[in-house]
Point group: C2
Chain length 328, copies 2
């Protein structure tokens, strides 16, 4: 069984380099640091290397200040790659780390994962890789301490959008309760990792929301370099706007368009249960999951908006709404 | 023990009128409908009467369409008042219902509750009254069915702001897991009850966010009748803006000012753990809990903003930040 093979590899390693994906999110950083602390609890050497910096909302995590950007020259017994469907998603550290190690361990929940490791545990039923790590702890003989529990619970909270994705089940809540009992402060984690936007980001949202439109169940908004300059924001500050737009009652699908500084248009798509934006993103040369996907288009803003909204309207028209949307 | 006294009164009643507070929120409606379904599971007659309508984000709840605005002429054996610290918070139905019944049962978690019932269970340690109702079910001999569980879990989710208030503990998560196992769809509940704003509301936020200000850890924004007219919004559409403002990283305290149509100024206050806006609200003639409070001021908008922000600055200056805010 692949879970046990992976557990054996982790047990045998005296040192490990832990990698995750570019633009790391709460599950990438949380599962990596959680595994780092768990391996250290066993007495192993463990370090986390990420190509991109830890985002501000995750700097509260125990060990965040130890995350490295470069692979250390001495390498390690094993390389553990988390939450990354291919080496491309890891970026430069992948080749550097694997060149200096004996074994690649691949742990992921993306169904598209190419099983590129020497040992692989790919489990798409898991809402978060952090939960996979938590389920490995008994095989590692580790009882999570406060640091381990805090990092893992952060992955659970962020990859389920605060327990709101359709894959959230009662077992996940029980795991979350156990992690709280081990010392993880759930309210703080939600407030720091999930409900945490910068003043600049909200000022940019206020600009973008002036362009808010709604048609046929699709809600969208646009942000431009002028708007970003007006509030001192960067392109990244628009990143969570599509998630916010999806909280609008009338939205079946939400789209956020960012006119990039180089003139291309980045579109971020979010869908309520039963709708699939991964298909539309794929048509546009992008990718993602059914509820969250995106693409970058090399065309004028107006044309990009028209193209995407037409494709989304066709998607909504072709979809039978999910039964869960009509609860009572 | 007051819990057992209340349980006995509920067991003996063949009919019950269930009341809760004006401007009902998720815990008011969720605990009332949850108790209604539980009493019906026992074979009793149970009805819910609320002075104000069920808000749109709670209309998905099983039984929401049965909620009445008027006390029925036949009355009932008992009146159960939930989540209301005084009869004033219930409004007109209180006097009408109690005139036509033999016993008032008072179940609440506000520390300021005046124990105005014939039997009372006041338990401020509970994050939500819905959780108190859930803990009564064994004494009532009721295993929650899907309707009961859905209503009660909605109260848990909304009164803890999606499990993010400091009172959220692992026992609450385990109760939530049990309610899921009984059929309550947590992801749908979060998306419908909690992550659910109308297009009009978000358009009003976009107007108000143009006035966003930040000083000394306090974030605030203003909305006016002109802004509401511009987007077709009502005074109520500004209600959750303070909660949203508190998600800003730089905010220790958030304030939303609504210039009412009658010229008064309603201020809604929210605080991160360790800060207490109930004290400031009380100084201003209002009330609430330490993390969430409010008041209505009879003075010009500019003066109201100055008065409140000065009081909040004094509050921040006098507060030692909570240890949990500096986790790592």
């Amino acid at each position: 069984m692949s879970k046990e093979t992976v557990a054996r590899a982790l047990r045998q390693a005296r040192s490990a380099l832990i990698l995750s994906h570019l633009n790391p999110d709460g599950d990438a950083v949380g599962s990596a640091l959680g595994l780092m602390w768990a391996l250290r609890q066993r007495g192993a050497l463990a370090r986390v290397v990420l190509a991109d910096p830890v985002p501000p909302n995750l700097l509260f995590l125990p060990g965040a200040e130890e995350v490295e950007r470069q692979v250390p020259p001495e390498g390690a017994d094993i390389v553990v790659v988390l939450d990354s469907s291919s080496p491309d998603h890891v970026g430069e550290p992948f080749a550097e780390a694997t060149a200096r190690s004996n074994l690649v361990v691949n742990i992921d929940h993306h169904p598209t994962n190419g099983a590129f490791g020497d040992v692989n545990w790919i489990a798409p039923a898991y809402p978060a890789v952090a939960q996979m790590i938590y389920h490995l702890l008994p095989s590692l003989g580790v009882q999570p301490d406060e640091a381990t529990a805090t990092c893992l619970l952060t992955g659970l909270v962020t990859d389920t959008n605060g327990f709101s994705t359709p894959t959230t089940d009662s077992n996940l809540l029980r795991d979350a309760a156990e992690l709280m009992d081990a010392g993880a402060p759930l309210p703080d984690i939600i407030q720091q990792a999930y409900l945490n936007r910068s003043l600049t980001q909200v000022r940019l949202w206020a600009q973008a929301l002036q362009t808010l439109q709604w048609e046929d169940g699709i809600v969208w908004a646009v942000n431009t370099p002028e708007m970003r300059r007006a509030v001192g924001a960067s392109e990244r500050d628009s990143s969570d706007l599509s998630t916010f737009l999806l909280t609008i009652r009338e939205a079946r699908i939400a789209a956020s368009f960012t006119l990039l500084d180089d003139g291309r248009v980045k579109v971020s798509l979010r869908a309520k249960p039963g709708y699939n934006v991964a298909e539309v993103a794929a048509q546009l040369g992008g990718g993602g999951h059914p509820p969250a996907a995106g693409a970058t288009l090399d065309m004028p803003l107006e044309q990009a908006v028209q193209t995407v909204i037409s494709a989304l309207k066709a998607q909504v028209a072709a979809t039978t709404p999910h039964a869960q949307l009509q609860l009572s």
